[in-house]
């Protein structure tokens, strides 16, 4: 129970407000709470409907207009990532062992067999919270985000 609801009930107990007033005030508070809930649900939906993974590398603002700059702007549809992850389930066992071995050599202890179709949605959902923002010593801005 929120603080406001307690106060209303106390005022009702002290006969400072009528039952009708208390009812009206309580319904106003409840509608406000449900409004907040629906707003947070809508926010989650917007994040859930992330369509693209973006990777951008922008040069330093001073060098931006000079011709000799490196610039990257990549937009990958989430559906492509989803389909790509599905491909891992089709990797033949022999190749899978090789992939796992290569990953282990690079210090990544990960088994591609563990990627299951039901985990894909969870992974995509987790990606929607991803945001990487790095500024290099040369002043280049690297951004990885979902939109």
């Amino acid at each position: 129970m929120t603080e406001n609801k307690k106060k209303i009930l106390e005022m009702l107990a002290q006969n400072k407000i009528s039952t009708d007033d208390a009812y009206r005030l309580l319904s106003v508070i409840e509608s406000g709470e449900s409004g907040q809930e629906s707003a947070s649900k809508a926010d989650a939906n917007v994040r859930g409907k992330a369509k693209y993974l973006r990777v951008t590398v922008l040069p330093e603002a001073e060098n931006e207009h000079s011709g000799n700059v490196d610039r990257v702007n990549v937009r990958v549809p989430m559906s492509l990532i989803r389909a790509g992850i599905k491909l891992t389930s089709l990797i033949p066992p022999e190749a899978r062992d090789k992939v796992n071995g290569a990953l282990r050599e690079k210090g990544i202890d990960f088994d591609v067999r563990n990627v299951k179709p039901e985990d894909i949605e969870e992974l995509i959902e987790a990606l929607s919270d991803l945001e990487v923002d790095v500024v290099s010593s040369k002043g280049e801005k690297v951004k990885v985000f979902v939109e």
């Binding site: 990958v76 559906s79 492509l80």
Partner: protein, 92 residues
């Protein structure tokens, strides 16, 4: 069901030369479908022969996922520029 991409724009710019290309995928897709229909008896035989080893099922799934990947490419954009060189790929 997602629609397959309609157009692909490809632009490669070297230090001296470069070229740009608009690929009308909507024209290539019917051709790909015709090729697939012509080859389908061979694909079917290959799948049936490979079925006991488990590769037949995998081959069918690969075909499905390949089509899914093709359809998911709509919206892909790669724009990389390094000095005077530039690669631009856009699928719409």
């Amino acid at each position: 069901m997602k629609r397959p991409p309609m157009l692909m724009r490809l632009k490669i710019q070297g230090e001296k030369k470069g070229f740009g290309l608009w690929l009308p995928l909507f024209l290539l897709l019917p051709l790909a479908l015709i090729v697939f229909i012509i080859l389908s008896p061979l694909i079917l035989i290959a799948v049936l022969v490979l079925w006991p080893s488990g590769w037949g099922k995998r081959a069918l799934l690969i075909l499905r996922v390949a089509f899914e990947i093709c359809c998911s490419m709509r919206g892909l954009r790669v724009d990389v520029q390094s000095g005077q060189q530039c690669v631009y790929i856009s699928v719409v």
